[in-house]
């Protein structure tokens, strides 16, 4: 009994020292100067623009990755196409690759010295140092989330209901909308929540391709870095608190979904 208690204390103590106390301290320091100050520093034009840009990027990247994720999960679990294994192995790559590597790779494909950069520039399309570059970087880093959440659920629900639907004359399209999608919906939602959190919080890859133009290509995470480097600590904490609030909402959503997913 005593050993059980000490294990619990070690586990909780570690979590407190690494996770909880630091987040608590930042929230405390944020609100130390007073609510008015915080309000002022997250409603500057640059901060408001950064906030909407961050949401806009997530609103483009997450739906695209959700469609890709569901299709890919279906391919990986339900079909036996050749090359499936290679696809499966490569899906995880964005999780293992450094954000700096991702940003630089996009820069070298679409930038002024890149493979496609000059051609696109002639056509009047700018990707690097503008919003499309940020969107592409975000799609890259969030790519595996929905696949990883949906594939195990698909495997677990099995294909018996789909078989029954097929036997009763449903088309593949009908079987997907009426049988498969309702069965995997919580997996999809969970993947979307994780992708959104990552899309909003991405820093390294975005930092290379965005050019960090204030009021144009500056996302919330880039704003935090800029304010910190300009010794505007209170401003950096305020923007961080905004991001931390989004993160806490994400955790809450994940917990609620887990509970619903467990009792279908």
């Amino acid at each position: 009994m005593a050993s059980r208690l000490s294990l619990r204390l070690v586990a909780l103590g570690y979590l407190a020292a690494i996770l909880l106390v630091p987040v608590g301290v930042v929230l405390y320091k944020t609100f130390e100067p007073g609510l008015g100050e915080v309000r002022a520093s997250i409603t500057t034009p640059a901060a408001v623009h950064a906030f909407w840009l961050t949401l806009e990027v997530a609103a483009i990247a997450v739906p695209l990755n959700t469609i890709f994720g569901v299709v890919t999960a279906l391919v990986l679990v339900r079909s036996d196409v050749r090359g499936k294994r290679a696809l499966e192995a490569l899906i995880d790559l964005p999780f293992a690759v450094s954000p700096v590597v991702i940003g630089l790779a996009l820069f070298l494909l679409y930038g002024r010295e890149g493979w496609l950069g000059p051609t696109l520039a002639d056509a009047g399309i700018q990707i690097i140092f503008s919003v499309p570059g940020i969107v592409l970087a975000t799609i890259f880093v969030c790519l595996p989330f929905v696949v990883r959440e949906v594939a195990p659920v698909l495997r677990e629900v099995g294909d018996e209901a789909e078989q029954a639907a097929a036997t009763l004359g449903a088309s593949a399209w009908q079987a997907f909308w009426r049988i498969t999608l309702p069965a995997i919906r919580w997996g999809v939602v969970y993947g979307v929540v994780l992708s959104t959190a990552r899309a909003i919080g991405e820093f390294g890859a975005v930092s290379i391709v965005s050019g960090k133009i204030s009021g144009e290509t500056e996302t919330l995470t880039l704003l935090v870095e800029k304010r910190f480097n300009n010794f505007d600590l209170a401003g950096a904490y305020a923007a961080s608190a905004l991001l931390a609030a989004i993160a806490l909402a994400t955790l809450l959503a994940m917990t609620l979904i887990n509970r619903r997913g467990a009792t279908p």
């Binding site: 294990l7 909780l12 570690y14 979590l15 690494i18 996770l19 630091p22 987040v23 930042v26 320091k29 890709f68 299709v71 890919t72 279906l74 339900r78 079909s79 036996d80 196409v81 696809l87 192995a89 899906i91 790559l93 999780f95 293992a96 690759v97 450094s98 954000p99 700096v100 590597v101 630089l104 790779a105 070298l108 494909l109 493979w115 592409l136 890259f140 790519l143 018996e160 078989q163 097929a166 036997t167 088309s171 593949a172 959190a197 990552r198 919080g201 991405e202 820093f203 390294g204 290379i208 995470t221 910190f228 904490y237 961080s240 991001l243 931390a244 993160a247 955790l251 994940m254 917990t255």
Partner: protein, 273 residues
């Protein structure tokens, strides 16, 4: 009932596979195209650029003293972080699954905080709390990496521990094994696969981590500079080819970890199946 399903199932399955097979080929095409455009094409451009000035120049960039020092530090600190979080991860998973106390659900939810919190905020957070004591030292890098890699082993081990049959442990205990012996000889062998998977992903994440480290490390060459931050400084100072060379090393390392993990999981899967 059972015989009815066994006779009709193959037919229905064939019909279904016939259709999904068609949709499968289309879906496979769509997935592969998306993956190629979004992920593989940029990485190909990166590799191409790193070889822009020839193999000798590539090697000079990769083997420069500063690059080697950064890579060495990155790998060593990532190994340390992975080891610590493998031990703490198993411990936390055990407490979450086997222990019972008020607030356990809340603690379980908090584990995912590092996945939800933007890395730059994580770095700033640790700087705010421990800043005056450890900022710009190796301890700061260690702490930042411990933070971002915390959930991997916990989340890998937790489901396996939940599904583990308690009867084996009870049997061992009834035969006189102490709780440590039960853990070491019954529980731990069952968790090995999950621990290795979680640890490998944590290691890959630590090697590439950037956002949480960039503010707190101070980026001191030959001391606290990690490879990703080194590559970033090379981009900033317009040495794109050098940055690409270092990035290709990091990319190769990530690929190596993923491939090793696949091979390991394949082996364990075959043995269990």
């Amino acid at each position: 009932m059972a015989s009815a399903t066994t006779t009709t199932a193959p037919l229905a399955r064939r019909r279904l596979l016939g259709r999904v097979g068609g949709a499968g080929a289309l879906g496979f095409g769509v997935s592969t195209l998306w993956l190629s455009v979004v992920v593989l094409l940029p990485l190909a451009a990166l590799v191409d650029r790193s070889l822009h000035d020839g193999l000798a120049a590539f090697w000079d960039d990769v083997a420069s003293r500063q690059a080697v020092a950064a890579l060495r530090f990155t790998i060593l600190i990532s190994l340390a972080v992975t080891a610590i979080n493998a031990v703490m991860g198993v411990l936390i998973a055990w407490v979450l699954v086997r222990d019972d106390f008020r607030g356990r659900r809340a603690v379980n939810a908090v584990i995912d905080l590092p996945f939800a919190l933007p890395t730059i905020v994580a770095g700033l957070t640790l700087l705010a709390l421990y800043g005056s004591a450890i900022a710009y030292t190796k301890w700061a890098v260690l702490l930042a990496l411990l933070f971002v890699t915390l959930p991997f082993v916990v989340r890998a081990v937790q489901p396996v521990l939940l599904a583990l049959d308690r009867e084996m442990e009870d049997a061992a205990a009834s035969l006189g094994a102490g709780s440590l012996a039960v853990f070491r000889r019954i529980v731990l062998p069952n968790l090995t696969g999950a621990i290795v998977s979680g640890a490998a992903l944590a290691f890959a994440r630590a090697v590439g981590e950037f956002g949480s480290v960039v503010l707190i490390s101070g980026n001191r060459p030959f001391d606290t500079q990690v490879s990703s931050v080194y590559a970033y400084t090379q981009v900033e100072s317009d040495n794109t080819t050098g940055a690409a060379a270092v990035s290709v090393t990091l990319l190769a390392l990530s690929l190596g970890i993923l491939v090793a993990l696949r091979v390991f999981e394949g082996r364990v899967g075959r043995r269990d199946g």
